[in-house]
Amino acid sequence: MAKDNGGILKWMAEYDRRYVYLALFLVMVGPLLRPIGMPISVSPDTRQYYQVLQQVQPGDKVFFTLNTEFSGYNEIQSGIIATMRLLVEKNARVAFGVAHVEATVIPELIVKAVQAEMTANDYQYGRDYIILGYIFPNEAAVAAGAQDFHSVVTQDWLGRPIAGTFLDEIDDWEDWDLIADFTTGIATSYLINHYALRGTPMIMNCIGVMIASEKPYLDSGILLALLQSMRGGAELEFLIGHPGPGLTAMDGFSFGHYALIIFILIGNVGYFGYTRQQQMKISKEAK
């Protein structure tokens, strides 16, 4: 740690990465404790997603698929809840299906979050919405369900028969009016391949990691709309005028980004001010 060896510049080039962890933690927790409230701009992709949801008609049958772990739910819950809120306002009928065992309790959280709207619109279990549980354990299950729904799904998540619910109107892929997929990448390509490819309208809200992988499906028209990560969810909340977890998180979101940007800048100053000088010195000495 000799001072003459570069001092602050050396630190900037080679500091312990645990400082990054600590700083990131602090800037994220801070704003959550004292929210500031910042404005947000809405991207065209989110507008497109909103437009598709606007076209939902009363009584439409919507397949609400949660292909996510708890971790993914934390990221996209704002989009999930805002979408559900819109669907309830439009009086659509919603069936929840999940592709990850951890997601089996998530529908319960969603229903709790939009309880007020559901009561206002007189939503009843079985008639207006139903929770199907773990119905997509593998690709074959998704494919079979697309071709003959009732051959795969016989009961809801707690073992009550689905006969007599609005699912009686579902035979195969053609009968769904919309698939709203919330995903970390699990089973998503199965839904695309066996439903959307055949022509079922499908929209998606994916985590940030999957944006680049899913965007080609949006661009080629297989997906009608793609809501992106937590930011997309916050934008949607902004559009429907009902702030939720997404918008409150945006402060920490901004600061997390700035922390990273500052670290990148520090790293570059350190690199040009110290590392590079050292390298040049070494190569000069070698000559």
């Binding site: 990465r17 990691v209 999957m210 944006i211 680049a212 992988s213």
Partner: protein
């Protein structure tokens, strides 16, 4: 749509045709057992250099092939593992191969053991093969990360070569590997992973480079043939795009209609 074929569902003919064409090509190459020429990807030099440097420093090498089942990525990872095992057997470095990580990985593990053992036997140092250096870190991704990271922190490897079917755990591994000062060579199988690894690694085999490297190292004509067939289809894709764009720019949508036939 351009035309309809009796007996075949409208809009699905071209896909059917392409599938059949691909199968026929693969079959043809396998039958003729021709050794297709594959170029050497630069990543292989990086691997060889890394293993050499580890030997100079007297440090072990860690090499993993992924956590998936038998997919196209895992096979590539296994081919590279075989190459690395030959190199470490020659240079006398210790080779550690973390295994497990997924439900499907259970069936791959015996094959990996076989590969490392064969490599050591072929180099005439069978006595140096130690089955305990292929630790099994359970069939769960998170436990696998814990084990992998733990072994890196303890043995301080000279290089970490991580190819094959790795998923999000790749970032934990690459960052820890870098923190313990190892030369980090990775490959990623989907784009966000590749982008993150491109930053985190000293050298990265981007996407298809890993299977191509595997096929280059492999003596199996079928593996090489599949790289050739893939190349042919990529050429086809480019040709169709260029023709289609040219036609569309002149106001003709023949190609688009053909593709939707």
């Amino acid at each position: 749509m351009l035309f309809s074929v009796p007996g075949i569902i409208n809009g699905r003919f071209i896909g059917f045709l392409l599938d059949i064409a691909m199968a026929a090509l693969v079959y043809y190459y396998i039958k003729t057992r021709k050794m297709v020429h594959i170029r050497r990807v630069p990543g292989l030099d990086a691997i060889e250099e890394a293993v050499g440097r580890s030997a100079e420093m007297g440090k072990p090498v860690i090499c993993s092939y992924g956590i998936g089942g038998f997919t196209y990525w895992t096979l590539a990872g296994l081919s590279i593992l075989s190459h690395v095992a030959h190199l470490t057997a020659k240079t006398g470095s210790r080779l550690i191969v973390p295994t497990g990580g997924g439900d499907q990985s259970l069936i791959v593990r015996p094959v990996a053991e076989e590969i490392v053992k064969t490599a050591y036997t072929m180099e005439g140092v069978e006595d140096q093969y130690n089955p305990d250096d292929l630790p099994f870190y359970s069939g769960q991704q998170y436990a696998y990360i814990g084990g992998y990271v733990g072994v890196m922190q303890r043995v301080r490897p000279g290089s970490v070569i991580m190819t094959g079917s790795h998923a999000s755990e790749a970032m934990n591994i690459a960052e820890t590997s870098n923190a313990v000062g190892a030369i980090t060579i990775t490959s990623g199988s989907y784009i966000s992973n590749v982008a993150a690894l491109a930053c985190a690694s000293d050298y990265i085999l981007i996407g298809e480079e890993a299977p191509a490297a595997g096929a280059y190292l492999s003596e199996d004509p079928a593996q090489r043939a599949s790289i050739r067939v893939q190349d042919l289809f990529k050429w086809l894709a480019i040709a169709v795009m260029v023709l289609g764009i040219a036609a569309r720019s002149l106001g003709n949508d023949l190609m688009l209609r053909l593709l939707s036939t």
